[in-house]
């Protein structure tokens, strides 16, 4: 009997009371699973804490669910909308386009421009064969003819390629010319390669056009007995402007197109101008056909746009300056941004289900490990009804979704100072490309992953999950330690997510007196950051629980809010860096990278910003002199002595993992008080790269005074305030000793003050220290 495995996701992460949520589940080795709605209370099984805690909730959704094996389309591609089958050409044709193959020799055939059926061998198309040569293919369902170029394609070089076919004589030609410049390709002009190949032959067979076959860029139609129609043979690399003509273009005609001209108008069936559609606010997933038939194509699994094209000249660094140089669209056979599984079950969130973090727990067979799944979602109240709100950092969950660093990144062990601790779940995730990649991974062709989506199972957004590289909880399960603290202390609280904050802005948080952020809210859209800044300046209070917060610029589209875009640029602690000229996000037209490089360092909002990370140990805080200042002494009331947080589920200390520092030069509000600071961090704690101008020896915990977590507090207009812990490990320190500890005492003092209406303890700050009330 096959091993039982269950995985699932929801159509939305955030759902209000009274709204519907869909569950998409795939299972191996079973046709049923036992479902139970649970409220998640605590997610870390570390023996120094209370362990995993949930609460089973009665609901008619509970019981046996029918489940099935579901299939996932991998790979990004464009599908042409051609309802009248204009591209089913029963006659002469020319296909042409610019290409920049990333990995031409893969051992598999890669289709670039095709109206081809891989199952029946019908149609026509050009691609790169398994040995890395350009190839024209024509088939009639019984026989197939091929024409191959003389020279293999060189990776990461821009080419103009074309194929012609004379229907009457059977003459086929293949045209391949390098169009590399000083800037556009991996190599320059000093390399004595010949990129040019012109081959010709006479085919015995002609294309047969199945009316149901779509024209695909990066892939070809296929059929599988169980899963039905899908796209196979996807391509790794970029394309730029491309098209199809209904006549045989001469070499001279093609030379002109190679140099940037359009084909003769009367011969065009389609000409996809990949540079059309840009605005200052980006470009969407529709590629425009400027030919007579308007056969636009649609992107699936997010082909990456706003990439440099064949004619990029190195002067313009973004598409807003020179859209015509940004016709590049990058495809990856391992991209997946929507699994598109069938709906397994749906649920209307009961009106009386308390706002909180919930999951459908699915079990089958042994009901542990791979046969147990928690499909997590976040329930908001229909109307806010608490003073306190926990802002779930779902954007940051997306960034890390299904990361594979322990298996692939040579840097992970030097970075974490330990060997990874993997589980069967990690291995399963690694074995199955269908779960997709995180923004910490690279595609197999080496490009960094810049889109991440929740329309797929996210196996590290689960209670009990321990991140393999670091051996601790991280992100979602770590945030449950804050939820556990709220529940233990019987606070009334609501839940909202980053997606809600992005969509609704200030309105979403205005009703609350106090917001608590997650342990690692690293990824922020402009709308999210604006909403928080306005919230505080209008009198809201933020308890910023974690560290390395408000760091990367990200973008969400209104049409596909489940998918996030990030571009990692020259600065910041990052798993990859965008290639030259590819710094601006297609989703919004904004420059990506760090908020710090766009004039909004985290210090400006939170008082502290990222300074170091280390994963072998954590430390405690020691009170700083400000802690006794009469305006803020209430924060540490009840903490005996100087030490705060000498305990925790993340390496035994509240100050660690990733840590933030006060820095007036980066905009820490000048009246900020440092309540406590950590210190004595190991040399595994290294200074963040954005602090570096020159690198020199000794930028580590035991040698650089800056490497510390600062716990800070400042007041804002209208009785607003921000308290920052400056440490990811703070959240995981709360459950120690059954939530009875010094970190917990500090948090309670602050939250109790922050949820009260009116003035804060200690009074408002005016211009001078003496004027503190």
């Amino acid at each position: 009997m096959a091993e039982i495995k269950i995985f699932g996701y929801t159509d939305k992460l955030s759902v209000k009371q009274g709204e519907k949520i869909d569950f998409h589940v795939s299972a191996d080795g079973t046709k049923t699973a036992k479902a139970q709605l649970v409220k998640l209370i605590h997610g870390d099984e570390h023996p120094d804490g209370p362990g995993y805690i949930d609460q089973e909730i009665d609901n008619k959704i509970n019981g046996e669910w029918k489940v099935e094996k579901q299939f996932t389309q991998l790979g990004s591609f464009l599908k042409v909308k051609d309802p009248e089958n204009k591209l089913a050409i029963d006659g002469d044709f020319t296909i042409f386009g610019y290409i920049y193959p990333s990995t031409p020799k893969t051992g598999h055939h890669q289709w670039i421009f095709s109206r081809w059926d891989n199952k029946t061998n019908e149609g026509y198309g050009i691609g790169i064969n398994k040995d890395g040569y350009l190839e024209l293919v024509v088939g009639d369902g019984k026989e197939v003819d091929y024409l191959i170029s003389e020279l293999p394609i060189v990776k990461k070089i821009w080419y103009f390629v074309a194929a012609t076919f004379n229907y009457k004589t059977g003459e086929a030609t293949l045209y391949q010319e390098g169009v590399l410049t000083r800037y556009n390709s991996l190599l320059g002009k000093v390399v004595p390669y010949d990129y040019r190949s012109h081959t010709k032959t006479t085919f015995r067979f002609k294309q047969k056009n199945n009316p149901n076959t779509p024209f695909i860029v990066s892939g070809a139609e296929d059929l599988h007995e169980l899963r039905g129609r899908f796209i196979s043979g996807t391509y790794a690399g970029k394309v730029d402007r491309h098209g199809v003509c209904s006549k045989v273009l001469s070499k001279e005609d093609l030379d002109k197109i190679r140099d940037g001209d359009l084909p003769e108008n009367n011969s065009i069936v389609a000409y996809w101008d990949t540079t059309v559609g840009f605005s200052d606010n980006g470009i969407n997933n529709t590629v425009i056909d400027i030919g007579p038939n308007k056969l636009n194509s649609e992107g699936h699994n997010h082909p990456v746009r706003a990439m440099t094209g064949w004619n990029w000249n190195g002067k313009n660094d973004n598409f807003r300056l020179a859209p015509k140089e940004y016709g590049g669209i990058d495809f990856h056979p391992d991209s997946i941004t929507d699994a598109k599984w069938n709906i397994t079950n749906s649920m209307i969130i009961p009106e009386d289900l308390k706002s909180g973090i919930y999951a459908i727990r699915l079990r089958s067979g042994p009901g542990t490990g791979l046969s147990e799944e928690y499909v997590v979602f976040f329930v908001r109240p229909k109307k806010p009804n608490s003073k306190l709100c926990f802002l779930v950092p779902t954007a940051s969950y997306l960034a890390y979704a299904n990361e594979k660093l322990s298996f692939e990144a040579t840097i992970i062990q030097p970075m974490t100072g330990q060997p990874p601790t993997i589980t069967d779940i990690d291995i399963e995730q690694y074995k199955n490309p269908e779960f997709g990649l995180s923004t910490y991974d690279s595609f197999a062709d080496g490009a960094g992953v810049c889109f991440s989506s929740y329309k797929r199972p996210i196996l590290n957004m689960r209670p009990k999950y321990r991140t393999s590289g670091m051996g601790i909880t991280w992100q979602f399960p770590a945030d449950l330690s804050i939820i556990g603290w709220l529940e233990h202390n019987k606070y009334e609280y609501d839940i909202i997510t980053d997606e809600d904050l992005h969509k609704e802005g200030l309105d979403c948080v205005k009703p609350y007196n106090c917001l608590i952020t997650g342990t690692h809210n690293e990824y922020y859209s402009e709308k999210m950051l604006n909403a928080l800044e306005d919230f505080v300046s209008e009198g809201g209070r933020v308890f910023s629980s974690g560290a390395n917060s408000y760091y990367w610029v990200v973008a969400f589209s209104d049409e596909q809010p489940w998918c996030m875009e990030v571009r990692k640029l020259e600065a910041g602690m990052r798993a990859w860096a965008a290639k030259p000229g590819e710094y601006y996000m297609q989703t919004t037209g904004e420059k990506g990278g760090l908020w710090r490089t766009r004039g909004r360092p985290p210090q400006k909002f939170a008082g502290v910003g990222f300074i170091a990370e280390g994963f072998d140990t954590a430390e405690k805080y020691r009170k700083m002199p400000d802690a006794w200042h009469r305006t803020v002494s209430w924060i540490t009331e009840g903490v005996e002595g100087e030490i705060i947080g000498d305990h925790g589920l993340a390496y035994g200390g509240a100050a660690g993992v990733e840590i933030d520092r006060y820095d007036l030069s980066l905009g820490t509000p000048p009246h900020t008080k440092i309540i406590a600071s950590s210190g004595g961090h190991s040399d595994n704690y290294v200074l963040v790269t954005e602090e570096l101008l020159y690198a020199y020896a000794g930028l580590v915990g035991s040698l650089d005074y800056r490497i510390r977590a600062d716990m800070t507090y400042f007041t804002a207009p209208n009785n607003g305030a921000v308290f920052s812990t400056g440490s990811i490990a703070f959240g995981q320190s709360l459950p120690s000793n059954n939530f009875n500890n010094s970190a917990s005492t500090v948090m309670k003092n602050v939250i109790d003050a922050f949820i009260k209406d009116g003035k804060l303890p200690g009074g408002a700050w005016t211009l001078e220290e003496k004027q503190w009330k």
Binding site: E45, T421, K431, T617
Partner: protein, 121 residues
Amino acid sequence: MLPEQSTEIDDKDEVYRKRYDKMQREFLKTLICDEIIEEHKNKPLGQHSEALERVLYYFRRAGMNDKYVVKCEEPFKKYKIMALSGVRGRSPRLVEDKIYETVQAAYHGLFLRRVQDLMEA
């Protein structure tokens, strides 16, 4: 590396990396002693003596192919040692059946295997 072996390698950076690696290994072998093994056993993670840190830096920076990792069979109770494939999508392999009752013991068991590999290389 012999000149005829070097011609087989497209990426000449790799030729130097191998030379550097050999020099590193020869030096690091001189640092291996009972004291640093005992030091690691007592404290597998965190700040160590310079000798142990240098050995650990080397181990951690190794390529992904056959790199050891800890496999958790039961959280906080049962651990084993595996080696990664270094190939996307391919499972790690179990390198021994020995069960460690704590993750710290597994870290040390893994360290001992790395020391053995270094000394035999």
